[in-house]
């Protein structure tokens, strides 16, 4: 299972037949394992890493620190839920340190992000304070380097 997941994590376009060859299992077993992993929400989706800037589409992203009061019974979960329901929120993490939730927001403009923070985030009861950091430049995203390639080996074509 781990081998299958590793293979599609690197390349979601692999077919079960291809993964079967790579992992030495039958195609039917691989297809079944993937279906099960999707059902169990081990596989949550198949995504593509896109450099939107290079595609000529501007978007604004911001990392927002949120300090909030944990709730009786639900701790931070209820607040996190309220926040992650907004579609402009890409990621929400509970973190250790000087704040509680780290929220990644993507929108069309700085104004949109600011509005989101002031009107949606800051108005949630349990939220005690926020600090917004606009992303200026992306260097590496989900393991992919955005500009400038990683060096490749310059090998001779035939060696002993």
């Amino acid at each position: 299972m781990k081998q299958i997941l590793k293979a599609i994590e690197r390349n979601p376009r692999l077919t079960p037949a291809e993964i079967a060859v790579m992992t030495g299992q039958s195609e039917a077993d691989v297809a079944a394992a993937i279906a099960r992993a999707e059902q169990d929400r081990i596989i949550l989706g198949y995504r593509t890493v896109i450099n939107w800037e290079r595609a000529g589409e501007d978007e604004v992203a911001a990392l927002i620190e949120v300090r909030c009061a944990p709730q009786r019974e639900t701790g931070f979960d209820a607040v996190a839920q309220r926040i992650y329901r907004y579609p402009e929120v890409r990621s929400v993490w509970l973190v250790s340190g000087t704040f509680d939730l780290a929220v990644m927001v993507v929108a069309k403009s700085m104004r949109e992000v600011s509005l989101f923070v002031s009107e949606r985030l800051a108005t949630i009861d349990a939220v005690q304070g926020t600090a917004t950091y606009f992303i200026m430049k992306r260097y590496k995203e989900d393991g992919a380097i955005l500009d400038g390639d990683e060096p490749t080996a310059h090998r001779l074509a035939v060696t002993p």
Binding site: K6, M22, E150, T152, A153, A157, V158, T159, P160
Partner: protein, 399 residues
Amino acid sequence: MATSVGSVANRNRVAKLVSSLPPSGIRKFFDLLASLDNVISLGVGEPDFVTPWHIREAAMYGLERGETSYTSNYGLIELRSEIARHLERLYQVSYDPRREILVTVGVSEGLDLAMRAILDPGDEVLCPDPGYVSYRPCIQLAGGTVIPVPTSFADDFKVRAEEIEARITPRTKAILLGYPSNPTGAVLSREELAAIARVAERHDLIVVADEIYDRLVYGVEHTCFSSLPGARDRTILLGGFSKAYAMTGWRVGYACARPELLEAMMKIHQYTMLCAPVMAQLAAIEALRYGERDVQEMVDEYDRRRRVMLTGFRRLGLDCFEPRGAFYVFPSIARTGLSSEAFAERLLNEERVAVVPGSAFGERGEGHIRCCYATSLAEIEEAIRRISRFLARLEGKDA
């Protein structure tokens, strides 16, 4: 000038030993290749990964600190200690870093030192055929005689203790083993190696174990020859960084042996090499301390590619045994009726795929080609398509 150019050329100034060495079967392809483009090469013998960043960085920090001098002839003691710990951890063999480990300029130098340290003129060395291209010349340059021990496709290219024992004479000095094998990908089990260790003991032979591919095994365990009962003190263990850590260009490796043998190798090393490059030694320390994760990731990736190549070739109807080590598949091309050299040459000219003819590795390599899977999956798949077209044409079918 007293002598004319003509008379210089006429006199044979190259030593007989050197001129008697046949040219490498690989060199020829090199010249052919230079004139072609859009070639997919399965002809390499090294990783396609760049050395992991933290290892490169360790060398750069060393340069910044001004570490640019000769090191001890034996190599940096920190590196030798790391090598000792590494071998203890992986194989439970112990070598004293002060007297039993020598840092060499790759396993290449280790091989040369081992042969020169143990051979007197006419001494015989048994080595599996097919085997790594440098084995024969290294033995010959040291004055030794090569006694090939045949291995075969039918027996997964394993060298057998009985075959070795049958070729022992009063002149036999050593057995040279290279497993996991370049070019076949064969691996020997602990029991098979133990049988060879018993033969070595019975006939009091030295075993030179080239274990440069020790980390690149798939679904089987590597057995370090020195870890076999009674074998340690008759073994010269050669290990390296080139393959496991993708460090071919750094030129660093190591040799381990009991003090008397190691001292003999060290004697040659100190006069001919002085020491291995210091930057490479610093990088090697980093590799052993923090490189395990990189090794595992590369091994996992090679394993995926290994299966893709093996399955692809079998679907084309090429007979291959399943290689369990190194990064080569060694299919039989016998059914085409071509010699391995003719096959490789035509495949390159007609379909732009470079492979190495099995005959470059010894007589028993004839009828096979060596294909390296240390290349991207996309390239492996394209190479399989091209080979498929080539085979179809050879066999008079439409591609």
